[in-house]
């Protein structure tokens, strides 16, 4: 509107300008006071709530799925959009009474309806919407699923809310469908710790799987790159120190053959022909347990043998010694590896220094004789 900022002056709204003394100020506050007195929620103007507040009627879609058309006005008001949006902002095809076209008349299922409603969310939440397009739930929709959640599936429709900062609630929402996994998780080292630590240190569903762009966990690339998920916390020295955990777990894995392989796959080294062991293969996925608490080394050993044998047919307890555990090789815990490492660390510079000196001497001699 304004093209030249130098000529800018505050806009004055004649009568209602609150900065003007008379008659503007009394008029402004008067109107404001009146407005407050008779203030009614936006939806009231649309009169939707006359019918829909607390209604128990159901509408049936073509495939037989049903949805209750009633909402609780108080719940709606308490939601993040309550008082901000009007009913027809989202239900924009239903802007008259009697309703011109009901969704149940043009759509096959509740799932279709909800997916269609996501287009409404898109108008404001575009970034999240596009992320969802990369996620597995959207993919399931494109493959014909009507049960995979859309926006409202997780955030709620009329009780809509952000789930940020509420780890327990996040898990709870996922558990609506992923019940079994939620139970397994609850008994894992993370699930048990979550009871006492809800400050964001303990990973919940979305910390590993993502919230909107949820990746397919069965993809080979998800497995190969999953170490990066664990790395976010277990590579963080400060956080690990807080819980008395070994901060070396990530680097020791990444320097191992399997870790190097998965790093290279993640960096563009193609699809792994066969899966390479990563954190979850030894420690579990949702049932992650600490090896520390196992106590008996024999039990741990047996577990590692089983894990190795998944890929290395015929793995023996001796074979598992190849894995030096999550500790830097020292003279005490891996004398052979340590000696070879240090042997080369000394040998290589010495040999190279000798050879280079010899070459320089040779060049010097040739020059001196010239």
């Amino acid at each position: 509107m304004k093209t030249d900022s130098r000529s800018y002056e505050p806009m004055r709204i004649g009568l209602f300008c609150p900065t003007r003394a008379w008659p503007s100020r009394p008029l402004f506050f008067g109107v404001a006071a009146l407005a407050l007195l008779f203030a009614t929620p936006l939806w009231a103007e649309e009169e939707c709530m006359d019918c829909h507040d607390g209604a128990e009627d159901e509408v049936e879609f073509a495939d037989g799925s049903k949805v209750v058309v009633g909402i609780d006005a108080k719940t709606w008001e308490a939601s993040v959009h309550g008082g901000e949006l009007s009913c027809s902002d989202c239900h924009h095809t239903i802007n008259e009474y009697p309703h011109p076209t009901k969704p149940s008349e043009v759509m096959a299922s509740v799932g279709d309806f909800q997916r269609n409603q996501a287009e409404t969310c898109k108008r404001c939440h575009y970034a999240y919407y596009t992320r969802v397009l990369d996620g597995i739930h959207y993919k399931q929709h494109t493959e014909g699923s009507t049960k995979a959640p859309t926006c409202v599936g997780c955030h709620g429709a009329h009780e809509i809310r952000s789930l940020k900062g509420d780890p327990l609630e996040i898990n709870h929402r996922c558990a609506n469908c992923h019940t079994e996994i939620a139970e397994v998780y609850a008994n894992s080292v993370h699930g048990r710790a979550l009871v006492d630590h809800q400050d964001g240190d303990i990973p919940v569903c979305t910390d590993c799987h993502g919230a909107h762009d949820i990746a397919d966990p069965n993809a080979a690339s998800f497995h190969a790159e999953s170490y990066q998920l664990c790395a976010r916390c277990h590579g963080d020295e400060e956080r690990m120190e807080k819980y008395g955990l070994n901060a070396n777990v990530l680097t020791s894995y990444l320097e191992d053959f399997h870790g190097i392989s998965n790093q290279l796959y993640a960096a563009g080294g193609g699809e792994p022909g066969r899966p390479m062991a990563t954190c979850t293969d030894c420690h579990g996925i949702h049932d992650i347990q600490s090896f520390k608490n196992e106590g008996e080394t024999v039990v741990v050993k047996q577990r590692v043998v089983e894990v190795c044998a998944k890929c290395h047919e015929g793995a023996t307890p001796e074979f598992t010694d190849a894995w030096l555990s999550h500790y830097t090789p020292t003279f005490e815990n891996a004398p052979l590896v340590w000696s070879i490492k240090w042997g080369y660390r000394i040998l290589i510079p010495m040999i190279m220094l000798g050879l280079i000196l010899h070459i320089l001497l040779h060049l010097w001699r040739i020059r001196a004789r010239r």
Partner: protein, 339 residues
């Protein structure tokens, strides 16, 4: 596989220069194959070591992915193993049948040469020592290749068959092999880049390139300059062509299975021109001896079982001769005792 020629070939090039055969055709092919295998192993191996570098990912991408890169690396490793078996097997047969002079075998004399050459480089000597067919620098590199190659092969096979090796040896051997494989590779590449490229390309002695390992031949002039002992062994009576005595006039027909490399390629046996030694009975047609000429080698041979300090198929029969000569040299006090 190996030529069984008893003698060293010499030839005269178009511009009248005399050349001595330094590498048999088999060795030349072996060298080229080693280059190819080495390059293949380096370009597929180093991205796995320096996995965090962007060039590593670029190279892996070039080979079509990590799995493909590893497949190439493993097959190149197997090719390297085969070439090692052929090489070492050839030496074993050559030594067993006494048909090979191990010209690349390090000997105590090499330490003395190295010391004397160091004094020369530092200016305490006016002349470098007289070097045999391969000097200590070349022997160092060759032995480095053999030992380093064995380290790479053994550790590589441990990594290729971890389960099998863990059933024979402690499991710690596997990460140890990985550390070894990775470090030895760095050492090998550094030595190659620094030492071999200098010795064969950038050294002012040979710049821009010492082609002898590809052509197989070295000029007699270069030989007398850099490998005086070998020169003296081959031409005790002076350079070929100079007096007509040791040159083409009396050259023997080679026993080599290989046809001549060129029209002017002539097999040449220096010992043939020396005053012969009637003491040795010729048991085979291709056995000719010269106790005096071989005495130096022979004495060395006597004190350490390395009758021969070389591994050249073309010179095969001389090891046997040298041993015999050694005994002769002992009873013959007039034999030259040292270089």
């Amino acid at each position: 596989m190996k030529t069984t020629a008893k003698s060293t070939r010499i030839r005269k090039t178009g511009d009248g220069e005399w050349q001595v055969e330094r590498f048999s055709p088999f060795r030349r092919v072996e060298h080229i194959l080693t280059i190819l295998i080495f390059v293949a192993l380096v370009v597929t191996g180093f991205p796995q070591k320096f996995y965090e570098s962007s060039w590593a990912t670029g190279l892996i991408d070039f080979f079509g992915g990590l799995d493909q890169t590893r497949t190439i690396h493993r097959w190149a490793g197997i090719a390297f193993a085969l070439s090692a078996v052929v090489h070492l097997g050839g030496i074993a047969i050559g030594v067993a049948t006494r048909k090979m002079r191990l010209t690349l075998m390090p000997a105590p004399q090499d330490l003395r040469d190295a010391w004397n050459n160091l004094l020369y480089l530092l200016g305490y000597r006016d002349h470098p020592p007289k070097f045999p067919k391969f000097d200590y620098r070349q022997k160092f590199e060759y032995v480095g290749l053999i030992l380093g190659g064995l380290v790479m092969l053994v550790s590589g096979f441990v990594l290729l068959f971890p389960i099998e090796f863990a059933s024979l040896a402690p499991g710690e051997l596997i990460p140890a092999s990985r550390v070894m494989h990775s470090n030895e590779a760095v050492l090998a590449l550094l030595v190659l880049v620094v030492w071999h490229l200098y010795g064969s390309h950038f050294s002012p002695d040979v710049f821009p390139m010492d082609k002898s390992v590809f052509t197989g031949y070295m000029t007699v002039k270069d030989l007398s300059h850099h490998h005086k002992l070998e020169y003296e062994r081959l031409f005790p009576a002076g350079p070929p062509g100079a007096n007509g005595k040791s040159g083409e006039a009396e050259a023997l027909v080679s026993e080599s299975e290989n046809p001549d490399d060129g029209p002017e390629d002539e097999p040449f046996d220096p010992e043939e021109n020396d005053p012969g030694d009637a003491e040795e009975s010729e048991t085979e047609q291709n056995e000719t001896e010269n106790v005096e000429g071989e005495a130096a080698d022979a004495l060395e041979a006597a004190d350490a079982l390395e009758a021969a300090d070389a591994l050249e198929a073309a010179d095969a029969l001389e090891a046997a001769d040298a041993l015999e000569a050694a005994s002769d040299a002992k009873v013959e006090p007039s034999a030259p005792a040292d270089t």
